[in-house]
Symmetry: C2
């Protein structure tokens, strides 16, 4: 049977597939830092060449930011679009890595061999599972598994500023029957999942200005307003005593879970104590009347992602600084409107400023939450394929992270998206020592071969 | 008359005195940053050579930190000790300087020519006023103005860790009849002052730990505690709605002003609106029931001098960080006990931590407030000398800053200290674009010649 031949080919080619991934991981394609612009372009070019080798008509397409990689190939079956992203998160704090984040290696891990390096899981390792499935299919069949478009972004970790314009400008070219997105995780180490609820994201940076220059706290302390003190007061008021966000109208559009989804989630063996315990915690820190799974998958949040002001070097400096800064993000659910929340947040901050202080805002991307169209029979086909590979029923789950692309495929191109990924909770994505288990990479490739076989049958 | 000859010599030698100061200002002796250790030693060596040239038996004396400069010279009159410091503050943010902070120059300023550069006022320019007065005296009289010990520190801007041990180890050598300290300012642009009240200082650095590693806010946001949020809450509670510090027992030992001092201060022409207006502010930010002069000179404070945590670079990173940091300092008055306040502050922070969070503290120096012995007739002699030079009566004033050395002379060496300085409020010490007006430097030198003439008569 041809699927078995493809799976056998995948098993046999695994060492070479890992070598190819290593080449891609060595390119430091950090999209948020302009210093790495050339490296992002280099990663895009490498992918274009690899896709061309598989018979795709592929090219690197310029944008005002980092390039998009687009490749078309194959005939027959459904027209499927595959999405992944080749850019990665920054690597600081560098001293917490056990090796150079861009000098990846295979290491022994508690769950077997793993690939250590920035982007191993998010998202270079994941996107290559699909590419490798196509490679094995081509090797066995001499052709790709049906009509495919591959669409790889280089700005996913920095707010995707070029994405919507590019999709709009190339809508006819990109439109397919369904989008496959590989940027999510398994439900647990051995349970595959299709993610059907995604949180949206709104990012805001604020700078509070006080005195017109840095002051000596001896000469002015007590009489002059300190912007760090003002910023602390604002941020301390972002949550009430019950863990709810206090920005006015923040919960507008937040809907309660449908009973059937709530029941399904209650059947999942989610071990909240272990989930928190793995990162050194024991007590859920969110809304007091919600379970941890609800907090992560179906409730909105406000988080302070960065704060800085005054003297932060070694030693001490008795400065009373002219300004203080923070980066704040909101995870959104249901029908929350990121634009309304941005306005309400800014007005809420503004209203709290004491005399002599002003605030500047800088927006960092926004996307509404996403809810997938699980009524489409393709979802059930894919779920069966995943269950076949992993030997346990695949789950429909939520996701605390934001993958705005899923919503954009719907709103910009009118196509549904299916989120299938193979990351594990301990992959340390966005953290030092990111890894991807070789088992996830290997079974991920095999999973895509099975999904493609079912969708294109 | 010989004093007139010394004053004439000072006037004539001013260009050369400025040249010498420029050489010293070019040495980046930033004591708080270990990267500048060799530069601190270089500044000390330069001063030793200059003092030797005036006939002082001078040397650079090693400490576990930066060296002390000690020089002895002259005979007769009172045995006077002069104290200054050759180390300077860090220079960040560097982009706000109009030139390299360590490439000083004479510029035209609104009040006449000024010396622009880090340390011009605090304290290299100030300490050189005394050295130049000795130089002119020596040139005219062939000898120094009486028995002098010069004692210059290199750790004043970084908590003076070596000072007390050095004073104790060399007590017999350093003990004199009175200490003269030049590290303070004029009362206003043309009114000289002797500072008789100094605030103390306690510095604390705290690090709040939460998760055992940086987390992705999508994967954990809502369920995992965020140390920046915890830190913000703690710092936001440092002051109550009336601007009072909330740390328990913080006001123990704070005394009300004696009526005579309060009356004297009310007679000073302190323009609070201009004082705040010069730095872009209009409303005093301290305790609501105190005047700005009280806030600055006779009331204790808590200030956040630095804060940092999470992602602070360009762009955005949706990180939920493992830790968050702040540097906090307290200005102390009266009999406030820095050690008791340190303990109370640490316990107060500890008591506010939610489950799963821990805190680490690092102390950064501490000194009690100082109140000078204005009953000593030497104070009145010096006040007359200053009044003669500036043509207006010199004032006894308070100072918001902390000059712990004054207290140490009393507690370690049993000698009184007299604080005379020539800085102006707009000198931008501890800020970008620090300057010292040439008039202050020039009249400062002349003032010391007059003070020495009266004290050694």
């Amino acid at each position: 049977m041809s699927l078995d031949a493809v799976l056998a080919r995948i098993d046999q080619d695994l060492p070479q597939a890992l070598d190819r991934l290593m080449v891609l991981l060595r390119i430091p394609s950090i999209s948020t830092d302009p210093a790495y612009k050339a490296e992002c372009a280099k990663a895009a070019d490498w992918l274009v060449e690899d896709l061309k080798g598989l018979g795709f008509d592929a090219s690197s397409r310029p944008t005002p930011g980092h390039p998009m990689v687009v490749g078309h190939g194959g005939t027959g079956g459904r027209h499927l679009l595959f999405y992944g992203h080749y850019d990665v998160q920054p690597v600081d704090p560098l001293n917490l890595w056990d090796r150079d984040p861009f000098d990846p290696e295979i290491q022994d891990g508690p769950k077997g061999p793993l690939i250590r390096g920035r982007g191993a899981s998010d998202d270079k390792g994941q996107l290559m599972t699909f590419v490798e499935a196509c490679r094995a299919w081509k090797a066995v069949h001499g052709s790709l598994p049906g009509k495919l478009t591959i669409f790889l972004e280089g700005e996913e970790e920095s707010g995707s500023p070029s994405l919507i314009p590019f999709m709009k400008d190339n809508a006819a070219e990109l439109k397919a029957e369904i989008a496959l997105i590989c940027d999510t995780g398994l439900f647990d180490d051995q349970t595959p999942a299709i993610t059907t609820m995604l949180r949206g994201l709104l990012g805001e940076e604020l700078t509070i200005h006080g005195p017109n220059k840095d002051l000596h706290s001896g000469g002015y302390g007590g009489a002059a307003i300190n912007p760090i003190r003002v910023l602390s007061k604002v941020l301390a008021g972002l949550h009430d005593a019950n863990g709810r966000v206090t920005v006015p109208h923040f919960y507008d559009g937040v809907t309660e879970l449908p009973d059937e989804i709530r029941a399904q989630w209650q059947n999942l063996t989610f071990d909240a104590a272990k989930f928190l315990g793995d990162v050194g915690l024991s007590v859920p820190a969110g809304e007091v009347d919600r379970t941890p799974l609800e907090m992560l998958w179906s409730r909105p949040t406000a988080e302070i992602n960065g704060i800085w002001g005054g003297y932060t070097g070694e030693g001490f400096k008795t400065v009373l600084p002219a300004e203080a800064h923070a980066k704040v993000s909101f995870r959104l659910v249901g029908d929350q409107d990121p634009f309304a929340i941005r306005e309400n947040f800014r007005a809420w901050v503004q209203a709290q400023l004491p005399p002599d202080c002003t605030v500047e805002f800088h927006g960092h991307g926004n996307s509404p939450a996403g809810v997938m169209a699980i009524g489409d029979p393709a979802f059930e086909s894919a779920r069966q394929a995943l269950s076949d590979e992993w030997g346990v029923p695949a789950a429909y789950i939520g996701c605390g992270g934001s993958i705005p692309i899923a919503g954009y495929f719907k709103t910009v191109l009118g196509m549904d998206a299916m989120l299938i990924g193979f990351g594990r909770d301990d992959d340390q994505i966005h953290s030092p020592n990111e890894k991807y288990d070789v088992e996830c990479f290997h079974k991920g490739i095999r999973s895509w071969a099975r999904v493609l076989a079912r969708l294109q049958a």
